[in-house]
């Protein structure tokens, strides 16, 4: 049940798949995203509420043909420059967008988890977004109210990061939970990376458990959320988020950085060591 991350990505992520790497600011599965990049997966439809640095990297390196998202920025810093370059100038390849609101995307994940064809919400009212995305109006059969319907998200692969798992592959996570549970439930195949593997999952206030039979692969990736964070393990690397603004602004600087820290490293421990050697705040 606990397998090397490289094996999990090789066996479960296929070219052309719809892949959701989730984690709302917290527990973003960077190590898994880096492994997708190292293995050169292509033509992915990437799904994520808040495309973070890891999606900037996946898009900038050319793994993605499509992005389904609701907010695509560098939180507290500004733009995702690789995302912008792909949308504004088609580099390194054109990127199809399917854009939603947070409420719409959350409802779409919840519908996917519930095995329903669509999610329903009071949303997408009045603005221009509804004419540029997949949203329809449905009428409530009880009250006649017009509501928004969003197609359920059913990714081929859902990938999340968590604090820990036991040896059977039961996964425990706590803190800000985002849409991680919905992502795993909605996906056809699920991969979870964890900070540590323990003999027994002891009780934690506010924690949830994803049972082992829900997950196809659990992989050990200590530090695998960096520069995001793992509550109780390490803090968010806010300085890295600021530094990424400079790294990602220029195509060549971006490619050199990716080569040095992702493509030329074997795994998350080498990635982190390479950052230490480069003197980038970790």
């Amino acid at each position: 049940m606990i397998v090397p991350l490289a094996d999990a990505i090789r066996d479960l992520v296929r070219d052309g798949d719809t892949v959701a790497l989730e984690g709302f600011t917290h527990l973003i599965p960077h190590a898994a995203g880096h492994e997708v990049i190292r293995q050169g997966k292509r033509d992915l439809a990437l799904v994520r509420m808040t495309p973070d640095l890891v999606y900037d990297q996946l898009i900038g390196i050319g793994c993605a043909r499509k992005l389904v998202f609701s907010w695509g920025g560098n939180p507290g810093v500004g733009s995702l420059h690789r995302l912008r370059d792909a949308v504004e100038r088609g580099w390194p390849r054109p990127l199809e967008l399917e854009e939603h609101s947070h409420a719409g995307m959350a409802a779409a994940y919840a519908a996917g988890a519930a095995n329903l064809p669509f999610g329903v919400l009071r949303g997408y009212l009045g603005g221009d977004l509804s004419s540029h995305t997949r949203v329809e109006r449905v009428t409530c059969p009880f009250t006649g109210e017009k509501l928004a319907a969003v197609a359920a998200l059913r990714p081929d692969v859902g990938i999340v990061h968590a604090q820990r798992a036991d040896r059977q592959g039961n996964v425990q996570l706590w803190g800000i939970l985002g849409v991680q549970k919905e992502t795993v439930l909605a996906a056809a195949r699920a991969i979870v990376t964890v900070e540590e593997v323990v003999d027994e999952l002891t009780h934690r206030p506010g924690a949830i458990v994803l049972p082992h039979w829900l997950v196809d692969a659990v992989s050990l990736a200590p530090g695998g959320a960096h520069p995001s964070y793992a509550h109780g393990y390490y803090d968010r690397d806010n300085e890295f988020y600021v530094a990424w603004d400079t790294i990602s602004r220029d195509r060549e600087a971006f490619e050199a950085w990716m080569k040095r820290h992702v493509l030329n490293t074997a795994d998350v421990s080498e990635y982190r060591r390479s950052l230490d050697e480069a003197g980038v705040a970790v």
């Binding site: 709302f24 600011t25 695509g72 409420a103």
Partner: protein, 235 residues
């Protein structure tokens, strides 16, 4: 009288408008500063909700992201994102929602999606995130935005969220409130003239007959604001 920055004036004036006990949906940046300032001055019972799922967050330092660990540590409750938007926002539990944007029009409609055409944008902005449903799901929308002709436009390039519930726009020059069916200048900050505010607005800005001057930040307000800021980074 103390010397203060324009951003500080904005934070102070927004904070003053939050009532004790108000349930506030907070974004990062100036809204987070304003809501935390209110909590540390006249409204200690103000409830801060960040869209990452933290309800009743009480951060000591200002977070860089809406999902910083300290928000979860200090919150009364942490809920999932689907629950946040369905039960709490759509459920009608939020009094005030803060929004920012790249562009605003005279009706309080906001654009945070693109500059230029949607399919061929000149600038691809981050997008709406929570804004479309915050704009329609809360009781009152407060907008915080620096006032320039590029931001205060005659016509939006894209309508990300609608202005029906915008009650106030706090800028670095003054205060706009809906009157006579459109946003109207109702106050200027100390040292700012009405003409400056008009010049920073691309539409022909209406000015209230009783336009007033906002009150300069008090020493207590500035002290609370700066002690909050010095604990944080980059804000």
């Amino acid at each position: 009288m103390s010397v203060y920055a324009a951003d500080e004036m904005m934070a102070v004036e927004a904070a003053r408008r939050l009532d004790e006990g108000a349930v506030v949906f907070v974004g990062i940046g100036l809204p987070s500063v304003a809501a935390n300032l209110a909590r540390r001055t006249h409204a200690p019972g103000c409830v801060l909700i960040y869209e990452s799922g933290t309800i009743g967050a009480k951060p000591e330092r200002l977070p860089l992201s809406i999902g910083d660990g300290e928000l979860a540590d200090t919150a009364d409750s942490v809920v999932s994102v689907p629950e946040m938007f369905a039960y709490w926002l759509q459920g009608g539990r939020v009094d005030v929602g803060f929004l920012g944007a790249a562009q605003i029009d005279r009706h309080g409609n906001l654009n945070s999606t693109v500059i230029g055409e949607y399919d061929q944008p000149t600038v691809r902005l981050p997008g709406g995130g929570g804004a479309p449903e915050i704009a329609t799901g809360v009781r009152d929308v407060f907008v915080m935005l620096r006032q320039t002709p590029r931001a205060f436009v005659e016509e939006l390039d894209f309508t990300t969220s609608v202005g029906d519930k915008v009650r106030v726009v706090v800028t670095d020059l003054g205060i706009l409130e809906p009157r006579y069916g459109e946003l109207t200048l109702t106050a200027v900050h100390p040292g700012v003239s009405v003409d400056e505010a008009r010049a920073a607005t691309a539409w022909d800005l209406r000015v209230a007959e009783d336009v007033r001057e906002t009150q300069v930040p008090t020493d207590d307000e500035l002290h609370a604001l700066r002690s909050l800021k010095t604990k944080g980074k980059d804000l």
